[in-house]
């Protein structure tokens, strides 16, 4: 199948494509209610979109008391690839143009093996998904990487946990391999876009999306747009000082948030606690599995292990303190907590909330929901698909 190459010719068409993406199949009349255009002009633009093949007719809708409308929808054959590369695992998903996930794979992975090895694996996963008949090819792909990205070029810059990726032309290389347009962004930004598109952050203009996984990052959305900063490192809150003269961090400083709480730090603390005999629960798990992860702590906590609960609470307090500062500074309308440690659930959330509501000013916290992400591990890939669709659904 030859892939779609057309792009909207003007802002109206771009708007229409996004309405169809976010609202599903729709009639001309309904589209007219959502866009500021006369019916005549609207019809012209829809016809042009039909000609390009981006949009197809979709039968007749039920009558609403008069003549039945002819529905149109985005071409159901369009396929986007969403890739979310984490520090220790990778998610690859295929979506249609409405960004519905049609297939999803998750595999362990070590980013430190470098871009070549990683992309080999990612392409194999994409091929596997394609082989199931979900797609014959891709019309676009969005890629998330766990580090700062020079966004316009789609190139990672000085990523601390991704040695070997610095300056690697991810966008160009993957575009060549996949034969379709590619956009690259920080994984945290994609998570924010995912929750914005299909999760808890719908209809919120300004919000923060804190992702706590192997490391800690924060997606910043201002006026509906992701804020990436001057060098693409905005949201890099893992190395904010949380504890004066605290633990040494890989970055060379002491007391960084990431050194005191993150998936990695939590696992290390749990092993320590188990070895010191503080928790029989954790010790058992350590012996059984030969190591501990954040998931073990979550399970132990769920089983009522006091030490695990303490670890989670203490970590939540640290993160909460930093978030409290960010809330005072940024005054968001919503804070989303996501990432691998979402499994720690409400114990973590309660600790964070306590800190934020106690430390920030009432005006900033009065109407501020602090919630867990709704999409879990699919937030990243949905955000990735959204990234490339936003790009392709904009005038060329």
């Amino acid at each position: 199948m030859r892939r779609m190459t057309a792009r909207p010719a003007n802002a109206h068409q771009a708007r229409l494509l996004k309405l169809l993406r976010d609202g599903g199949p729709n009639s001309r009349a309904q589209l007219g209610d959502q866009i500021d255009l006369s019916r005549s002009k609207l019809a012209v633009e829809v016809d042009r979109l039909l000609e390009t093949g981006l949009v197809v007719a979709d039968g007749l809708a039920a009558s609403r008391g008069g003549r039945r409308s002819h529905n149109v929808r985005l071409n159901p054959g369009l396929r986007f690839l969403g890739v979310d590369i984490g520090a220790t695992s990778v998610d690859v998903a295929v979506t249609n143009a409405e960004l519905e996930t049609l297939g999803h794979l998750n595999q362990p992975l070590d980013v430190r093996e470098g871009p070549v090895a990683v992309f080999e694996q990612v392409l194999a996963m994409a091929a596997k998904l394609r082989a199931t008949g979900l797609a014959e090819g891709f019309d676009g792909a969005g890629i998330g990487v766990p580090g700062p990205v020079r966004f316009p070029e789609g190139v990672p810059v000085a990523p601390p946990i991704m040695p070997g990726w610095d300056g690697f032309p991810v966008r160009e290389a993957l575009s060549q391999e996949l034969g379709c347009p590619v956009m690259v962004d920080n994984d945290v930004n994609l998570m924010a876009m995912g929750e914005q598109h299909a999760g808890v952050a719908r209809s919120v203009g300004d919000f923060l999306c804190v992702k706590i996984g192997t490391g800690i990052g924060c997606g910043i959305v201002v006026g509906g747009q992701v804020h990436r900063g001057t060098t693409g490192s905005a949201g890099d809150i893992g190395h904010i000082q949380a504890v004066p003269d605290g633990r040494p961090c890989a970055c060379g400083n002491r007391g960084c948030l990431e050194a005191h709480f993150s998936g990695a730090a939590l696992a290390r603390d749990a092993v320590e606690a188990a070895q010191q005999g503080l928790s029989a629960e954790l010790a058992t798990r350590l012996e059984t599995n030969g190591g501990l992860t954040a998931a073990d702590v979550a399970a132990a906590a769920a089983a009522g292990d006091a030490t695990s609960l303490d670890l989670i609470r203490e970590g939540g307090n640290r993160v909460g303190q930093v978030i409290a500062g960010l809330v005072s500074f940024f005054n968001p309308g919503l804070v989303v907590i996501g990432g691998g440690v979402t499994g720690l659930g409400h114990t973590l959330l309660a600790a964070i909330r306590t800190q934020v509501y106690r430390q920030s000013l009432p005006l900033a916290t009065g109407n501020l929901p602090i919630v867990l992400g709704e999409l879990g591990p699919t937030a990243g890939v949905i955000g990735a698909a959204r990234l490339i669709s936003d790009h392709l659904f904009s005038p060329a």
Copy 2:
């Protein structure tokens, strides 16, 4: 003189007005180079602006090798009033449409006396400026207040240091008194806009403007636009925790940045040091003036007083630590330091820089200038004038 009431009729006219405001008198040809319009269309819009009186002819320019051009400029009779209400003083200035300060008054003031008393004083100052012949009336006014503002309505909300102002309809009341359109904003945001318009932040899209006066606040500019947050309290960094279990703060918490460093905190520390006999220099000043201010500390430091230098350095370290966190989070292209303590000069700046460059990641700090504001006490009033001119120079 009847004031101007016209507004630009469309986006082109708005754009032209802003070009004339920021670039001064200009010919049609030069305007054509800066705007994406054909000469014919441009001429039409300029003619319409001439008809409204917002723009007037300004003679012939020198030849550039051919026919001399007819210059146009903003009506030189237009007058904006810029008001910057601080905690302990107020600045009032009159500008022309190009935002050049024509007259400027500064008087001590106590905001706690409430809006009625304050506005009486402000209106008297405005009348005084008018009486000098600078203006016969005002075409618009911008007002800055030291607290959060619900921006669309121009109403302060829950301002901690301004009891009695909560919910007072500043915009409406002043608009009535002055007989012209009024816009209200946080004083810190106005300082940021001032530095953006005529100071160090020209041509920078994303920057932070930290104002250290009686309190501490931070103006946030994203993509050239001030970010005010969901409830108008964005940038309220004075109550971020800088010292765990630190000094008690007026807000009820402990260790707030403002409790450890600000104009007020510095003055208090200086008195303490003088009374403990740590500094002869400060003790002398305390005796002479019957009290100490940040300016005294600045003077003592300039005279080489070690205790004063230490106070400034320690304070700078505290602020620097918080700014380091904000830099990691926001990744700005510039950080501006301003406000009353600018007099502390490079001792303060050096301490801040040290902290930021040491604690934030290289990618975020690599090309990050941290500089003192260029406009000093006029930043606020220029920002205020800019605020109202942005409003009036937008399509109605």
